[in-house]
């Protein structure tokens, strides 16, 4: 299957995505912000549809909308209860706009399917380059951020007293989630971003590993699930996103069995 150029592209693209989504997802689960991640994918959808309508590359729209929305969410962040309602409202508004933009687009059906369910088999060289570039940039930011982020996620009051700016850390992190979401949407589509972002992170958390090991484990799982999904899709001719979703849930359930 690697004899085909589009398959090699797909494997490379999903590796870029998994390497960023795995560690970001681990933190997302630790911080209990999975819902925010879900919302960002829907906002990214509106951004991508809007970009397509304006004739810009959908990937740019995806990335731009998700990163900006993540930053805004971090800057205005409040208590979780109130935040969930606010996020839910913005999420549905974004989805609504996404639908409108697609309606205004004449070639909407194919674009909509690609955005919603992913199009990893149609990755071009230029797209791969931008996926790789944003994965590298994201990992550099995460490398700098991860220590205060871990501290602030586990013990916010203490971290604040130790000089960590909770708002700065949370804003940078949500922008990172936006970037990872946009990358993920490229492979799994916006509706199934959870499979690569939250699934591996949640499974690694369930195993109760020490943080650095858990982060590596989440990354490995994300990569394994993405490549496994591609391989299974090749054999069965069923959609990649379907297989990634199945693998993600199976791994999560198995991780529960391993719990000490």
């Amino acid at each position: 299957m690697l004899a085909y150029d589009f398959m090699r592209m797909a494997f490379a693209a999903s590796a870029c995505v998994a390497l960023l989504a795995g560690p970001v997802g681990w933190f997302l689960v630790l911080r209990g912000q999975s819902f925010a991640g879900h919302a960002l994918s829907h906002i990214a959808f509106a951004g991508a549809a809007g970009a397509a309508l304006a004739g810009i590359s959908p990937l740019a729209g995806l990335l731009g909308a998700a990163v900006v929305a993540g930053g805004a969410m971090g800057l205005t962040g409040r208590d979780t209860g109130e935040r969930d309602v606010a996020i839910g409202m913005v999420l549905s508004l974004a989805m609504g706009f996404g639908v409108l933009f697609l309606h205004l687009l004449t070639r909407s059906a194919a674009t909509a399917t690609a955005l919603l369910f992913g199009n990893v088999l149609g990755v071009s060289g230029g797209m791969l380059a931008s996926l790789a570039a944003s994965a590298v940039a994201g990992l550099v930011v995460l490398g700098l951020l991860s220590r205060p982020l871990l501290f602030a996620s586990l013990q916010p009051e203490l971290a604040e007293a130790r000089g960590v700016s909770l708002r700065l850390v949370s804003t940078l992190f949500l922008m990172l989630v936006g970037a990872a979401t946009a990358e993920c949407a490229q492979i799994t589509g916006v509706l199934l971003v959870f499979t690569l972002m939250v699934g591996p992170g949640a499974a690694a958390q369930r195993m109760g590993l020490a943080p650095p090991v858990g982060i590596l484990c989440a990354t490995g799982l994300a990569l394994g699930e993405a490549w496994g999904g591609l391989t299974l899709s090749w054999w069965t001719d069923w959609p990649v996103s379907f297989w990634i979703a199945v693998l993600s849930v199976v791994v999560f359930l198995l991780a529960g069995l391993r719990r000490l």
Partner: protein
């Protein structure tokens, strides 16, 4: 007892400090000095400003007026000379072990990846030993009792060998025997490490014999002094604005009792 500011031997020196929460003054124009090496019990009714006072010492709450000096220096946020144990103490990450938790906070204010050096782990072991929590360190946080978790967080507050330890209600939600055990542990650790301790609490009794100084905050005012001067029916009744009885039991114990205290 107000002493000259910045005087050698004072751990905390407040001059005319006013602290606001929102637009509401919670402490107004208080002046007090905490001697280095003392163990201070911090008391006061709910909402009297105990936590706000501790947060002001950490630089997390800006003083509205006046100034606070710690060991002769102005307050700086994230100071290495202060160890802190905040009040809400149910850390996230129930599947992590105690050692993971301490490692995650180790130098947690610095940018970078959360990798702890061998020297870092040695320091973590040392503070765990200091509070007799080594056996807790390998257990998952979710499986620890409240008292066990508190012990770990006290160990964490000792990281970096602080000179001043600020403890926000370390005895809360413990049964009486555990309360006393924790109070004695705090006294021993503070003595051994020559730390000044400010420990807020709801109940005065568990800290009797442990603290040497009492700081009472009530109705915007502060009163500090040796235990036998402040823990009297007159002073406490005046501070709380409600009748407080201080009884000297034949055993030599002092018991403080009041409706709703």
């Amino acid at each position: 007892m107000i002493k000259a500011p910045g005087r050698r031997g004072s751990a905390v020196c407040c001059r005319g400090v006013t602290l606001d929460v929102g637009s509401h003054a919670i402490l107004s124009d208080i002046s007090l000095t905490v001697e280095a090496g003392s163990f201070v019990g911090l008391f006061g009714p709910n909402g009297a400003g105990k936590t706000t006072f501790l947060r002001a010492l950490l630089g997390l709450v800006q003083v509205e007026s006046g100034d606070i000096m710690l060991f002769g220096d102005a307050v700086t946020r994230g100071s290495r000379s202060i160890g802190y144990m905040p009040q809400s103490r149910t850390p996230n990450g129930a599947t992590l072990t105690g050692r993971d938790l301490l490692a995650s906070g180790f130098d947690g204010g610095k940018w970078g990846v959360p990798w702890v050096s061998r020297a870092g782990y040695a320091e973590i072991e040392a503070v765990l030993e200091a509070v007799d929590a080594v056996s807790l360190a390998d257990r998952r946080l979710g499986s620890l009792s409240g008292g066990e978790r508190q012990r770990l967080l006290i160990a964490q507050a000792l990281l970096g060998s602080p000179r001043l330890l600020l403890l926000d209600e370390p005895l809360a939600s413990l049964d009486p025997a555990r309360m006393r055990e924790m109070a004695l542990l705090l006294r021993d650790v503070a003595r051994k490490r020559e730390m000044t301790v400010i420990c807020s609490a709801h109940d005065i009794n568990p800290l009797m014999g442990v603290m040497d100084t009492v700081l009472c905050l009530a109705r915007g005012q502060a009163r500090i002094g040796p235990v036998d001067e402040v823990v009297t029916s007159e002073v406490l009744s005046a501070l709380y604005g409600a009748p407080v009885e201080v009884c000297h039991a034949p055993s030599g114990r002092v018991l403080v009792s009041a409706d709703g205290l």
